[in-house]
């Protein structure tokens, strides 16, 4: 699928139901593999698939950011507000086909919420009673965290509201922690 060159601008179409169901299968399998919801949430956040044992984990965000930079002409952001806009208007649009709204800025401007009117990941989902603490879409947190880490931003990402748990909207809360400074590798003589 990705074996073609010169395809930087055309965005591939993929059946969104297939994607949603595949994601569902993943979560279901994780629920079978791990005892409690907490652990499943953690795994979704990390997405350390054991599919490729030799590759020391397969972190989607860390790779997705490279694809994002290659496809979009977005450069480095000047502040966190610009980052929020790019995430909502460019990144979510590109990968999930939705544009969440950016709201609830903290006074210091280091924390905001992404409000998702609809979440394509949960199209066919209903949480059973025995998984009341499962954060079904926790994958998104890991992707955002991994991607931003690669552009030298440490952030905290969590679900504040989730339609699956009876809230009206899905809200992802993002908090800026610090800039990761680039260091010269040490010990080189």
């Amino acid at each position: 699928m990705s074996r073609q060159s010169n395809r930087t601008t055309d965005s591939k179409k993929m059946n969104s139901e297939l994607f949603t169901l595949t994601y569902g299968a993943l979560v279901t399998q994780l629920c079978k593999d791990y005892e409690n919801d907490e652990e499943v949430n953690k795994q979704l956040d990390k997405i350390l698939f054991s599919l490729f044992p030799s590759s020391r984990g397969y972190n989607i965000g860390v790779r997705l950011i490279e694809d994002f930079l290659a496809r979009s002409s977005v450069g480095r952001c000047h502040d966190f507000r610009e980052t929020a806009d790019v995430i909502a208007k460019v990144a979510f649009k590109m990968y999930l086909g939705i544009t969440p709204s950016v709201t609830n800025w903290s006074p210091a401007g280091d924390e905001f919420s992404l409000i998702l009117e609809s979440n394509p990941l949960v199209d066919f989902v209903e949480l059973p009673d025995n998984h009341s603490t499962l954060v079904y879409s926790n994958l998104l947190c890991g992707v955002l965290r991994g991607a931003l880490e690669m552009v030298q931003m440490a952030v905290d990402v969590r679900f504040a509201q989730d339609t699956l748990r009876g809230d009206n909207v899905t809200e992802i809360r993002m908090k800026f922690i610090k800039r990761i400074e680039e260091n010269l590798p040490v010990g080189d003589e």
């Binding site: 490279e66 694809d67 690669m150």
Partner: protein, 145 residues
């Protein structure tokens, strides 16, 4: 006009890839030392350039040239650094270096789950695609230098 060599570094200073085409004189040190020297120079020149800049910079360090060669530099926000040495006749190469990143590095390395990020690239496919990409450039060997 011609192209001498090309380096790709990751954000930690690991040399992910090196290849050369028309390089007649070697540095006289081991390749590992050469990579370290190159990365150290890039690191210093980047911070120097941004400290000296009278205005906020957009792209920062782009290229330098000597009497014999020109060094082109491209960096992504994720810290992937691509360095290409050419002779003096070659014009601005930013677009070409960006293309190497977006159509070759991202396509063949990042999207290949078997390629471990942050280690020297082992992909034959990437190497051969990069080689043919460079050889197909209009200024590769216009007049054998």
């Amino acid at each position: 006009m011609t192209i001498h060599n090309l380096y790709i570094f990751d954000r930690n200073g690991t040399c992910l890839h090196y290849s050369e085409w028309n390089r007649k004189k070697q540095a006289g040190i081991s390749k590992e030392e050469e990579y370290k020297l190159m990365y150290g120079m890039l690191f210093s020149i980047r911070s120097f350039v941004s400290k000296m800049s009278p205005l906020d910079m957009k792209d920062g360090f782009v290229a330098f040239q000597t009497s014999r060669y020109k060094l082109h530099y491209y960096e992504t926000p994720t810290g992937i650094k691509i360095v290409m040495n050419t002779d003096l006749g070659v014009p601005n190469c930013r677009d070409i270096l960006h293309q190497i990143y977006s159509t070759l590095y991202v396509e063949y390395i990042v999207k290949n789950p078997l390629c471990v990020l942050g280690e020297t690239l082992q992909s034959e496919l990437f190497n051969s695609r990069l080689d043919s990409f460079i050889r197909a450039l209009p200024f590769f060997n216009v007049r054998a230098a």
